[in-house]
């Protein structure tokens, strides 16, 4: 356990010393200032980018939908920010001369892998709290309407992030390139995930017809974490204040666990 904690602590310390991370936190602060400037309220009238929101027909429900939309709008950039911030941690650990030194210490390889993983997840949590928590305070503070469900973006993004992290940790062992692993995960989040999701919808089934590739799409859809669906789950949760269908969350959890196990097993067996 002490080895795990040492590696976890070291990962956090490393993050604090990286200029990129500090700069990203600065960017988040700038974004918050921008949001604060865009969202205004005067005389009890709420506007977003100059458009009147309060007083629309549907009242509270419309506001819930707006906040849910905002949550999802912030969700994906926030998620990708976390991915790019932490993409270098696993490749750096596995650089020649560094990994030799770590493996020669009296700690198990799993503790090393899990400690690094937990460190990255903690950094992502900090970025998530700052980004989503900050936007929540600005949005709600400026409008005077407090929608606590918006804060579900924090656990939701962390949940989806850990799914991506399992993929990045695995990719780092194959290529040891932080940029490549971040690009692949970004590609998955923006294109492949939505494509697999689309292929599984009724429209997708109609479009695919009897295509010979349908089985491959179905296989990948079930094997890879269904992170695209977490956005929909988040939208519904913020809008209605409760979790709806959680099957996608269960799939993401199981898939991530599987990828984590594959990554840890590979790390355990690999020659350096």
């Amino acid at each position: 356990m002490s080895g795990f904690l040492t590696v976890w602590r070291h990962t956090l310390s490393e993050a604090l010393h990286r200029k990129l991370l500090v700069a990203s936190f600065g960017l988040i602060a700038l974004e918050l200032v921008l949001v604060a400037a865009l969202v205004g309220s005067a005389s009890g009238m709420i506007t977003v980018a100059g458009m009147l929101v309060q007083g629309m027909p549907g009242g509270t429900e419309a506001l819930g939908a707006i906040f849910a939309g905002l949550a999802v709008t912030f969700y994906y950039p926030g998620l990708l920010l976390m991915v790019w911030l932490t993409a270098g941690f696993f490749p750096r650990m596995q650089e020649r001369g560094s990994i030799d030194l770590l493996l020669s210490k009296p700690l198990g390889r799993f503790a090393l892998y899990a400690g690094r993983f937990a460190g990255c997840a903690t950094i992502a949590l900090a970025a998530s709290v700052l980004f989503f928590g900050g936007n929540y305070l600005v949005l709600c503070g400026k409008t005077g309407i407090w929608v606590p469900a918006f804060l579900l973006t924090i656990p939701a993004s962390l949940f989806a992030y850990t799914a991506f992290l399992t993929m990045m940790a695995l990719l780092a062992q194959a290529g040891r390139s932080s940029v490549l692993s971040a690009l692949i995960v970004t590609g998955y989040a923006l294109f492949i995930g939505p494509l697999l999701f689309a292929a599984e919808t009724e429209i997708g089934h109609v479009l695919m017809g009897e295509s010979g590739w349908a089985w491959l799409f179905a296989l990948l859809y079930n094997l890879l974490p269904q992170t695209t669906e977490t956005g929909s789950v988040l939208f519904e949760a913020v809008r209605h204040g409760r979790l709806g269908d959680t099957s996608a969350l269960v799939q993401v959890a199981l898939s991530s666990l599987g990828w984590f196990a594959v990554g840890a097993f590979w790390f355990q067996r690999k020659d350096y």
Partner: protein
């Protein structure tokens, strides 16, 4: 019961790319080796001989394909075996954002040292390698030689019983090399065992008690430096005056080399007979010793013969 050998290797094999025949490389082909407690043991071999692979298997950085490797009496993959081992890898990399002291504290924690132990050991280790004045400097401002010294400091930090060093003097200036050699000798005097992997034969010759010569995954020769460099049945006799006169007195079995006479004598009686002949010829003797060759010559000879035998 005798003391456990710090390193014990039996029939150790390592094959890379085992799944694809065309890419298969046999890095180790059944190595047997034993390093005794309290000695400085040198591992020699040309590039690709399998030296680093052997070190990596011992420290569980790579996995063996067959055979057995034991470290301080435990299987090499057991993390408990590494508690009392210090390791300086080739091309060591420290977390570049840390300063020297911070790097040692981090690595000390990984070696399961308590905070109290570290606060005592870290300044001492930095002092030992001459980096105490740079303890607050960032590692990324260090030269190659300073990185090597810091690497040595982290290897010695937790007072290990076994120290494994992979090219420890790489990039270090001559004064630094001498200091590192002195550290190794002090370690031996303190009872630690040192396993040294180096391609600098002169370094090895100066500090090692025993060496193994490896080539193409096989141990070609193993023994003490004295035994390996001693030339069988050859004696070196130093004389006053012209050694050519002495050589002529001894006949065809003698030759002049490096200002002395070298003579072949398979027994003590034969050696004494040669000495008697010299004295009878009026030659004054100043020194008689077993003829030796340099470790470099032995190394080249062993590797060349090993390759001829293999082809």
């Amino acid at each position: 019961m005798g003391e456990v050998a710090p390193i014990e290797v039996r029939g150790l094999r390592k094959t890379y790319g085992a799944l694809r025949r065309a890419k298969r490389v046999e890095a180790l082909r059944g190595i047997d080796l034993e390093v005794r407690a309290g000695e400085i043991f040198g591992l020699l071999g040309p590039n690709g001989a399998g030296k680093t692979t052997l070190v990596k298997i011992l420290l569980a950085i790579a996995r063996a394909s067959g055979g057995e490797a034991r470290l301080l009496g435990r299987p090499a993959g057991d993390p408990r075996a590494r508690r009392e081992v210090g390791y300086l890898p080739e091309n060591i990399r420290f977390p570049d954002f840390l300063h020297a002291e911070g790097a040692l504290h981090y690595l000390g924690r990984l070696s399961r040292m308590s905070a109290a132990d570290r606060s005592r050991a870290v300044p001492a280790a930095l002092e030992q390698v001459g980096l105490f004045d740079r303890r607050r400097s960032k590692v990324n401002t260090f030269s190659k030689g300073m990185i090597q010294r810091l690497g040595l400091a982290q290897a010695l930090l937790h007072r290990p019983r076994l120290v494994v060093l992979d090219e420890p003097t790489d990039g270090v200036d001559p004064i630094g090399r001498k200091e590192i050699r002195d550290v190794l000798v002090r370690l031996r005097e303190g009872g630690a065992t040192v396993f040294l992997n180096s391609h600098l034969l002169s370094e090895v010759e100066r500090v090692c008690d025993r060496v193994a010569i490896l080539d193409r995954g096989r141990v070609l020769r193993i023994g003490s430096v004295d035994a390996l460099t001693r030339r069988a049945n050859r004696w070196r006799i130093s004389v006053e005056g012209d050694p050519g006169v002495a050589a002529a007195a001894l006949g065809p079995l003698a030759a002049v080399t490096g200002g002395a006479v070298e003579v072949e004598a398979s027994t003590t009686a034969a050696l004494n007979e040669a000495i008697d002949r010299l004295r009878a010829a009026g030659v004054l003797l100043t020194d008689v010793r077993a003829a030796a060759t340099s470790l470099e010559d032995v190394f080249l000879d062993v590797v060349e013969h090993g390759r001829e035998g293999a082809s």
